[in-house]
């Protein structure tokens, strides 16, 4: 499959995530859109690793493994990030009884 199809698919997913972050007010949905953007980047990393492998496999039979391991580490970091982020959202809900992100501007007072 041509690489530009994967590029365009990832760009589209990423932009949908951006639109979600900019237009929604529910903090949990904003967080889910961030996860969507992270997954678009992961998909592109895997596609590029397979492209690199196809181009380099004659000289280096394991070319492209690094890209897939980066995706693995991104998933590890994302799991840690989600656990802390959801804990922050729960704490915010407990304090202001809402998950509306507009309430977060009270942080400056």
């Amino acid at each position: 499959m041509k690489i530009e199809y994967y590029i365009f698919l990832s760009i589209a997913l990423f932009c949908i995530g951006i639109v979600g972050v900019l237009t929604r007010r529910n903090a949990i949905i904003v967080f889910m859109c961030v996860e969507l953007m992270l997954n678009a980047a992961n998909l592109l990393l895997v596609a590029f690793s397979k492209m690199h492998h196809l181009a380099q496999k004659a000289s280096n039979p394991t070319a492209g493994t690094d890209g897939q391991l980066f995706v693995f580490f991104i998933m590890v970091v994302a799991a840690a990030e989600v656990s802390v982020g959801l804990a922050i959202i729960v704490m915010m809900y407990r304090n202001v009884h809402s998950v509306d992100i507009n309430f977060l501007n009270r942080l400056k007072h």
């Binding site: 967080f31 997954n39 690793s49 394991t62 995706v71 959801l86 704490m91």
Partner: protein, 167 residues
């Protein structure tokens, strides 16, 4: 057009459609369910590129663990009613226009990129199998692997400390 290409287009349409549904659906629980479908489609893409380890890890970690955490938090807060306040209509329009502009700029910048026409290996190749990835992970990348365990430990402690009922 063989079966893998049909599968590629089908999975792409599924990912994009359910991603749009994540953004537009009013109910937060529905958003989570659509996001799970998106993750399934992305896992399908990984398996189509023969990155089987990542496909399964994506299913277990994202669709399994993270989305259950999201659902759990949403149900804990009792948000499954339509409680989200309306955002200003013009702000919404501005967000959509900004995202569309980003899409336009990225597509225009990358449509004549140098790598145009190169193929991503499809349906074959064994770098994505567990054996190869495991060998590299436990030799070359063993230090980052151990550091990520420390990251998990600190994230766990952080989540417990933040989520603890205040004194």
């Amino acid at each position: 057009m063989n079966i893998s290409e049909i599968l590629f287009y089908f999975l792409s349409a599924m990912a994009l459609g359910s991603a749009i549904m994540v953004v537009v659906s009013k109910n937060a629980v529905h958003s989570v369910l659509w996001l799970i479908i998106t993750f399934f489609a992305i896992s399908g893409h990984y398996i189509l590129m023969n990155a089987q380890f990542l496909g399964i890890v994506n299913l277990i970690v994202y669709a399994g663990a993270i989305m259950v955490l999201f659902l759990f938090v949403i149900m804990l807060m009792n948000l499954n009613a339509d409680t989200e306040p309306k955002k200003n209509r013009w702000l919404k329009m501005a967000g959509i226009v900004a995202g569309g502009c980003l899409l336009l700029v990225l597509v225009a910048a990358l449509k004549n990129a140098e790598i145009r026409g190169q193929q991503a290996q499809f349906n074959e190749g064994n770098i994505g199998l567990i054996q190869n990835l495991g060998e590299v992970l436990f030799t070359e990348y063993v230090v980052p692997f151990e550091i990520s365990s420390i990251l998990f430990l600190s994230a766990m402690v952080g989540a417990v400390v933040i989520g603890k009922r205040g004194d």
